[in-house]
Amino acid sequence: MVTYIIRRLIGALLMLAVVSMVTFSIFFVVPRLAGVTATDFANRYVGRAATQETVVAVANKLGLNDPVVVQYARWIKGIFVGAEYDYGAGVEHCPAPCFGYSFVTKNPVWPDLVDRMPVTLSLAAGASIIWLLAGVAVGVLSALKRGSIFDRTAMVIALSGVSLPPFFTGLIALSLFSYGLRITAPGGAYTPLTENPAEWAYSLILPWLTLAFLNAAAYARLTRAGMLETMGEDYIRTARAKGLRESTVITKHGLRAALTPIVTIFGLDVGILLGGAILTENVFSLPGLGKYATQAISTQDLPKIMGFTMLAAFFIVMANLIVDLLYAVVDPRVRLT
């Protein structure tokens, strides 16, 4: 068990290392291969009105002419121990975790990311609870009443659900409920939980439902398939033969086995969401991490994009790790590997 945990931890660290390399490559190596020079990069840091000499000086000062490995090491070092920047107007200290300063706002990236996190957390927490409960409930009922009207309707809706992009359902929901019926908050409205919990829920109900609908559909399909498979197993027949009540057979024996893969996928999905529900946040103009990322990308704000990418990857890798460890607890067979 201990070796399993250690192996998974090492795996997670390796994964983060690879992700950081890929991120760095996307922004600094790939453009270089495409023919972008160090001064082109420096141009982004100094803004438009700089003379050629300042640009070259900044390129040298930021070490953009150094070998790629050195630049990568400097970036990683900034994340762990912080960095010193000198743009000409005195030395600025950027404390760890340092992802540099935004090209546009000149603010350090990390505090901005921390600011945006509660919005994304609120969105992810509410939506994931809704879709897990709804998806599993519908899936179980469908499997138990296989072929019934409920099952067929639910599966048609679920199949439609996985085929509908959230930026379409979200738009329709906004248009219908916020602008047509005026019963939900308009896009762009967000009140922090600490300020007013009721307003908070009111501003998030549509995003929650939009995001939850997409995943609930997928979970209902998965749960139904899992339940159909486990309910056909021999041990279910044994449990029934022992004279257990049907509700006990379903919950203790059927659902428990069917839920294991669902829990795995749930962990991964939440991990992805924590890194920014990019599409949903954009549809509803919620000031979360996902919206932050798309703004950064549209303004080509490299330090912001890199900071966000690393944070998103961190959440995903952590979710993977937690799921792996939980899995070992839930499923004894895993410990052997």
Binding site: M15, V18, V19, V22, T23, I26, F27, V30, P31, A34, G35, V36, L159, S160, V162, S163, L164, P165, F167, F168, L171, I172, L174, S175, S178, Y179, G187, R221, R224, A225, L228, E229, I272, G275, G276, I278, L279, N282, V283, A293, T294, I297, S298, Q300, I305, F308, T309, A312, A313, I316, V317, N320
Partner: protein, 334 residues
């Protein structure tokens, strides 16, 4: 004591025809290939056939977009200011739907929505198909190599798969398309063709992990089967076994997962276009049209037509893919 086995009698021949003739007409037993059996199952699956029909229709629409638009619409980038109410910037009469403009017109500049949805099918399907092709090629090669050779090759490729499966794909794709899209002069391709190539490459490149994992699993079990042993004992070597013995048995899973990857890629492309890093305006894409529709909540037809186009496309491919899976591999559960 058991009675001694009577071996003196005539050798009994299996005559399954006799059984059949008892049940129905005098039908001779026919040998059927796996493909024929699958086709028979698929023919009975009305839902899957409907999906296939819609897919074919969409492909035809994409191919003949210019012709269709010349018959039923107006050029996709032609402004029709006369259809727009200059005060509200919305189409006159709410949507502008008429015999002349089947899906109505866009707010503000009055472009023909029907033509733009039809042209959107081109971009969407083109990118989804070729991206799928790239994923399937990389995934199959990686999966077969990992499964067949095993050992350290398998370890490395499997780790690589894990990494690709755990990547925040949308984020990386956004970043990569965004970064590379800025370097038109350095890359030597421009405008739409640059964007299309980039999207195909990026979407295809990040999506091979799932197919590779499935192909690897299948190859692992195929490798141990008797017919592979038989081929090997007859002196067949690695490449022959790979291409002539194992690969033909992988066609079913490749076909199934390719069909199911296309709708995922349609959604992926629409998402990237929606976020503004896809094909740039004025070229029509479904995702970009929805993105433009975010500014006009009170003009529902503007979001409904491109949205329904995405929905119908994705649903049709999903239905067909599910049916294909049931027909080719009935054991697999949904």
């Amino acid at each position: 004591m058991t009675a001694p086995l009577d071996v003196s009698g005539e050798e009994t021949k299996a005559t399954p025809e006799a059984v059949l003739s008892g049940v129905g007409g005098p039908k001779a037993i026919q040998g059927r290939s796996l493909g024929q059996i699958a086709w028979m199952r698929l023919k009975k699956d009305k839902v899957a056939l409907t999906g296939a029909g819609v897919v074919i229709f969409l492909v035809l629409v994409a191919i003949f977009a210019p012709l269709i638009v010349s018959w039923f619409g107006h050029p996709p980038n032609e402004f029709h200011q006369e259809m727009i109410d200059t005060m509200t910037m919305r189409p006159k009469g709410g949507s502008g739907i008429s015999g002349d403009f089947l899906f109505g017109v866009e707010p503000q500049n009055g472009r023909d929505l029907f033509s733009r949805v039809v042209y959107g099918a081109r971009i969407s399907l083109l990118i989804a198909f070729f991206a799928t092709l790239i994923s399937v090629l990389i995934g199959t090669v990686m999966g077969v190599v990992a499964g067949y050779f095993g050992g350290w090759v398998d370890t490395i490729i499997s780790r690589l798969m894990d990494i690709f499966l755990a990547f925040p794909i949308l984020v990386f794709a956004l970043a990569l398309v965004g970064v590379l899209g800025q370097f038109e002069t350095q890359l030597g391709v421009k405008g739409d063709s640059l964007r299309i190539l980039l999207l195909i490459f990026v979407i295809g490149f990040f999506n091979w992990g799932y197919i590779a994992r499935i192909i690897r699993g299948q190859t692992l079990s195929l490798r141990e089967r008797e017919f592979v042993d038989a081929a090997r004992s007859l002196g067949a070597r690695g490449p022959y076994i790979l291409f002539r013995e194992i690969l033909p048995n992988l066609i079913a899973p490749i076909l199934i997962y390719a069909t199911l990857l296309v709708p995922a890629n349609v959604l992926f492309e629409a998402a990237l276009s929606f976020l503004g890093v896809g094909i740039q305006p004025p070229t029509a894409t479904w995702g970009a049209m929805l993105s433009a529709a975010t500014k006009y909540y009170t003009v529902p037809h503007f979001m409904i037509f491109p949205g329904m186009a995405i929905f119908i496309t994705v649903l049709a491919f999903n239905l067909f893919g599910d049916g294909l899976r049931d027909a080719l591999d009935p054991k697999s559960s949904r």
